[in-house]
C-alpha cells in the first residue's frame, strides 16, 4: 500500500465525526486465522462489525470440478481442519447415497466413534482458545494437553493427527489399529476425571461468568434466520442437531441428549460445548464395545461415477451443520459441488451479536462462535 492510500470505510456505514474505525485482523491473535473485522467504534463500544473474509479462499469448490470423488474427500479435510473426519464423512455419505451403496455396519460404527472423538478434540481446542481469548492463558495448555491423547489415537489408526483422510467413498481406508478400543476406553476414563477440572478452572470463575453472561445475545428466531447452527445455535434454543434431525451412520443406534440452552448468550454457547463433550463420551461408550466384525469398506468400482442428479448430505460437524451439495452430470467428477460451511452462516450473525458491546466482548463472542477461517473461506 502506498503512503497516500487511505483505507476508506464502506459507504453503507454512516460515520459520525467521533467514530473510530479500526481493523481487527487479518493478523490478529484472537481472530484465530486470517480474518478481518472492520470495526466502527464509539469509544470502546462496538457500533458496527463488518467481517471481511476470503484471505484463505482457495477455490475448493472450483477445484473439485476437476477432481474425482475419492480425491475430493481429501480436500474437505482442509476446510474445517478441526472436524476433518466429519467433513470427509459428509462427502462419502453423499456419494454412497447417490450410488445407493450400503456400507458395512462396522464402518458406520467406526465412523461414528471417530466423529465423536473428533468433536471432543475440536471442543477441547475451542475451550483452550476461548479461555485464552478471555485472558486466561492457562486453559490453553490444559486443553491442548488432553487433546494430544485423541490425536495419538488418530495417528495410530488413521496415520494422520490433525487431518485424517480416513474415510473413502464406500468405507474406510484401512481397519482399526488393534489398540484402538483399549486406548479410547482409557481416554474416556481419564477425561471424565479431567473435564470437571475444566469447570473448576473456568466455568465457575466470577470474572469469566461476568464477562460471558448476557454478552452476544441472539434470539432463537434470529439464530434460525441467520442459520446459526451447531453449539452456537443450540445456545439459543435452536434444536438444530443433524444427528437428531436426520441421523446418519450409527447415530440412530445410540441414546444421547441434545444439549440445549435458551439464554442465547456467550455463556450458553460455552455450556453447550461443555455438555457436548460429556454427551460425545456417552455416545462413544455405547458403541466402542459393540463394533461389529466385518469388512472395513464396501466393494466399490475403480472409477466412481454418480448418476445424473442432485444430491445433498447434511452432517453435524463440530461447529454446526456441514452440507455437501453435489450436482452430477454422470461423469467421474462433479458438475458442481457446493460446500455449506457452518462457520460462514455463524459469522453472518456477528454484527447482530456484537453491536453495543465492548471490543473485549467482540473477542469473546467470536470465540464463542468458534470460527475456523479455512472453513469459512473455502
Amino acid at each position: 500500500m502506498s503512503e497516500n492510500q487511505i483505507v476508506t470505510p464502506p459507504k453503507d456505514i454512516d460515520l459520525d465525526y467521533q467514530d473510530y474505525v479500526i481493523n481487527m485482523g487479518p493478523q490478529h491473535p484472537s481472530t484465530h486465522g486470517v480474518m478481518r473485522f472492520l470495526l466502527t467504534l464509539k469509544g470502546e463500544t462496538v457500533d458496527n462489525v463488518q467481517p471481511h473474509c476470503g484471505y484463505i479462499h482457495r477455490g475448493i469448490e472450483k477445484m473439485t470440478e476437476r477432481l474425482t470423488y475419492p480425491q475430493i474427500v481429501h480436500l474437505t479435510d482442509r476446510l474445517d481442519y478441526l472436524s476433518a473426519h466429519i467433513n470427509n464423512e459428509a462427502v462419502c455419505l453423499c456419494v454412497e447415497n447417490a450410488l445407493q451403496i450400503e456400507v458395512p455396519e462396522r464402518v458406520k460404527y467406526i465412523r461414528t466413534i471417530i466423529d465423536e472423538l473428533n468433536r471432543i478434540a475440536s471442543h477441547q481446542l475451542w475451550w483452550a482458545a476461548f479461555g485464552m481469548d478471555m485472558g486466561a492463558l492457562t486453559t490453553f495448555f490444559y486443553g491442548l494437553r488432553d487433546r494430544e491423547y485423541i490425536l495419538d489415537i488418530f495417528e495410530e489408526t488413521t496415520g494422520g493427527r490433525l487431518i485424517q483422510s480416513y474415510n473413502t467413498p464406500g468405507g474406510l481406508m484401512n481397519d482399526l489399529h488393534k489398540d484402538f478400543q483399549t486406548k479410547v476406553k482409557k481416554f474416556i476414563k481419564d477425561f471424565r476425571k479431567v473435564l470437571p477440572e475444566y469447570d473448576r478452572l473456568l466455568t465457575g470463575n466470577v470474572i469469566f461468568t461476568e464477562r460471558s453472561k448476557g454478552i452476544g445475545y441472539i434470539s432463537k428466531e434470529d439464530a434460525i434466520s441467520y442459520g446459526v447452527t451447531g453449539p452456537s445455535g443450540r445456545g439459543s434454543g435452536f434444536a438444530c442437531d443433524v444427528r437428531k434431525i436426520a441421523p446418519y451412520s450409527a447415530y440412530d443406534k445410540v441414546q444421547f441428549k441434545e444439549a440445549l440452552y435458551t439464554e442465547g448468550d456467550t455463556f450458553a454457547r460455552y455450556k453447550v460445548r461443555m455438555d457436548e463433550m460429556w454427551e460425545s463420551m456417552n455416545i462413544i461408550e455405547q458403541l466402542i464395545d459393540n463394533i461389529p466384525q466385518g469388512d472395513y469398506a464396501a466393494k466399490m468400482k475403480a472409477v466412481i461415477k454418480l448418476p445424473v442428479g442432485e444430491y445433498y448430505q447434511r452432517v453435524e460437524a463440530a461447529r454446526g451443520e456441514f452440507g455437501v451439495h453435489i450436482i452430477s452430470d454422470g461423469n467421474k467428477n462433479p458438475y458442481r459441488l457446493k460446500l455449506r460451511s457452518p462457520n460462514f452462516s455463524n459469522l453472518s450473525a456477528i454484527n447482530a451479536m456484537a453491536k453495543g458491546h465492548k471490543i473485549a466482548d467482540l473477542v469473546a463472542i467470536s470465540g464463542s462462535l468458534d470460527l475456523v477461517i479455512p472453513d469459512l473461506d473455502r
Partner: protein
C-alpha cells in the same frame, strides 16, 4: 543483640566517612551518587532478569509445563539470551510517529520505576534515601509511569496503541486511589510516612496482624489494586493481547520494547516491596509479642533474607493471579474500583481511625 550484626548503617557510614576524608563535600556527594547509580543499575538488571525467569517458571508450573531448561543450568541464562537478542534487534521507526515522544516514552516508564527503588529499605540501614515522607514519595513517583504509557500510545500513531494507552490511563488513575487509601490505613495505624520508621514499628509484630480486620482488608485491597496499577493480569487491559495485540507497546521493538518489559517487572517488584514493607514488616524478622526465645531465633536470619522472602511471596501471589484468572473488561474494571474497592476503602480508614482512637490495636 544479634540483630545488629546485620546493621548496614555502620557499613554505609564508613564509606561516607572515608569519602569525606578524601575529598571535598561536593565530590563526596557526587561520588556517592555515582556509586548508588551503578549499584542500582546492576540491581535493576539482575532483579529484572530474575523476575522474568521466575515468571516463566511459575507460569510453566501453573500450565503443566517445564519452562525454560536449555540455556545454562535450569535454563537460568534464558532471560540473558533473550536480553541479548532484544539488544541486537532492529529499532523500527514508525512513519508519522511523533519521534521525540515516541523515543522518550520508554525512558519515562523505566525512570519512574527506577525512582521508586530509591526509597525502599532493603535491610536495616540499606536504603538510598530515608525520606520522612517515604511512602508518599514512592506513591508519587510510581504514578509518573502512566505518563510514559500514555505518551507511548499517543505518539505511536497506531489505533491499537491509543486504545491501550487510554485504557491504561483510566485504569492507573483509578486504582491509584485504592493503592493510596489502603496504604493510608496503615499510615493511620503507624502515625508516620517514613518507611524506615514503619519497619521499626513492626518490631513486635507485623502491621497485618497488629491492625486487626482493617489491616487485613487493606492488604487484600492493596494486592488487588496494585496488580491493576502495574497492568498485570487479570487487569492487563492496556496490553490485552487477545484484543489489542500488544496495546500501548505494539509499535515498539528491540531495546525500547525491552524497557517496557523490564519496567513492568520492576513495577511488580516495587509493589511487592511496598506490600512487604508496610504490611509484613519489611526486613523485620517475624516477632511475636513477648516470645523472646522465638524472636531471638528469628533474629539470626539476616534481614535481607526476610525482606527478599516476603517480597518473593507477594510476587508469587501476583503471578498466580495472572496465570489463573481471565481478563476483566474495561467497564467491569472501573466498576470494581469505583463501586466496590473505593467505598470499602473509605470505610476501612474510618474503622482504622476508630480503632486507633480507642487504642484497640496491639
Amino acid at each position: 543483640m544479634p540483630f545488629d550484626i546485620y546493621d548496614f548503617s555502620s557499613f554505609t557510614g564508613w564509606i561516607d566517612a572515608s569519602l569525606r576524608a578524601a575529598m571535598s563535600p561536593f565530590w563526596t556527594i557526587f561520588t556517592e551518587f555515582v556509586l548508588l547509580g551503578v549499584a542500582f543499575l546492576a540491581f535493576y538488571a539482575v532483579v529484572g532478569l530474575l523476575l522474568v525467569y521466575a515468571e516463566r517458571r511459575v507460569c510453566a508450573f501453573m500450565q503443566c509445563r517445564v519452562g525454560p531448561n536449555r540455556v545454562g543450568p535450569w535454563g537460568l541464562f534464558q532471560t540473558v539470551a533473550d536480553l541479548i537478542k532484544l539488544l541486537f534487534k532492529e529499532l523500527i521507526h514508525i512513519k508519522k510517529a511523533d519521534k521525540i515522544l515516541f523515543n522518550l516514552a520508554p525512558f519515562i516508564v523505566i525512570i519512574a520505576s527506577f525512582f521508586a527503588l530509591a526509597a525502599i529499605p532493603f535491610a536495616k540501614g540499606l536504603h538510598a534515601v530515608d525520606l520522612n515522607i517515604g511512602l508518599f514519595y514512592v506513591m508519587a513517583v510510581s504514578s509518573v509511569g502512566v505518563v510514559g504509557i500514555l505518551l507511548a500510545g499517543w505518539s505511536s500513531n497506531s489505533k491499537y496503541s491509543l486504545i491501550g494507552a487510554m485504557r491504561s490511563g483510566a485504569q492507573i488513575i483509578s486504582y491509584e486511589l485504592s493503592v493510596g487509601l489502603s496504604l493510608l490505613v496503615i499510615v493511620v495505624l503507624a502515625g508516620t510516612l517514613q518507611l524506615s520508621e514503619i519497619v521499626e514499628l513492626q518490631r513486635d509484630g507485623w502491621f497485618l496482624f497488629k491492625g486487626h480486620l482493617p489491616a487485613v482488608i487493606a492488604f487484600i485491597i492493596f494486592l488487588i489494586a496494585s496488580t491493576a496499577e502495574i497492568n498485570r493480569g487479570p487487569f492487563d487491559l492496556a496490553e490485552a493481547e487477545s484484543e489489542l495485540t500488544a496495546g500501548f507497546h505494539t509499535e515498539y521493538s528491540g531495546i525500547k520494547f525491552a524497557f517496557f518489559f523490564l519496567a513492568e517487572y520492576m513495577n511488580m517488584f516495587i509493589v511487592a516491596s511496598i506490600a512487604a514493607t508496610v504490611f509484613l514488616g519489611g526486613w523485620m524478622p517475624l516477632h511475636i509479642g513477648s516470645w523472646d526465645g522465638f524472636n531471638h531465633i528469628m533474629d539470626y536470619i539476616p534481614p535481607f533474607v526476610w525482606y527478599a522472602g516476603k517480597t518473593a511471596v507477594i510476587i508469587y501471589i501476583i503471578m498466580l493471579f495472572k496465570w489463573t484468572f481471565p481478563r476483566l473488561r474495561i467497564d467491569q474494571l472501573l466498576t470494581l474500583e469505583w463501586k466496590y474497592l473505593l467505598p470499602i476503602n473509605l470505610f476501612n480508614i474510618l474503622l482504622m481511625a476508630f480503632l486507633v482512637l480507642m487504642g484497640w490495636h496491639f
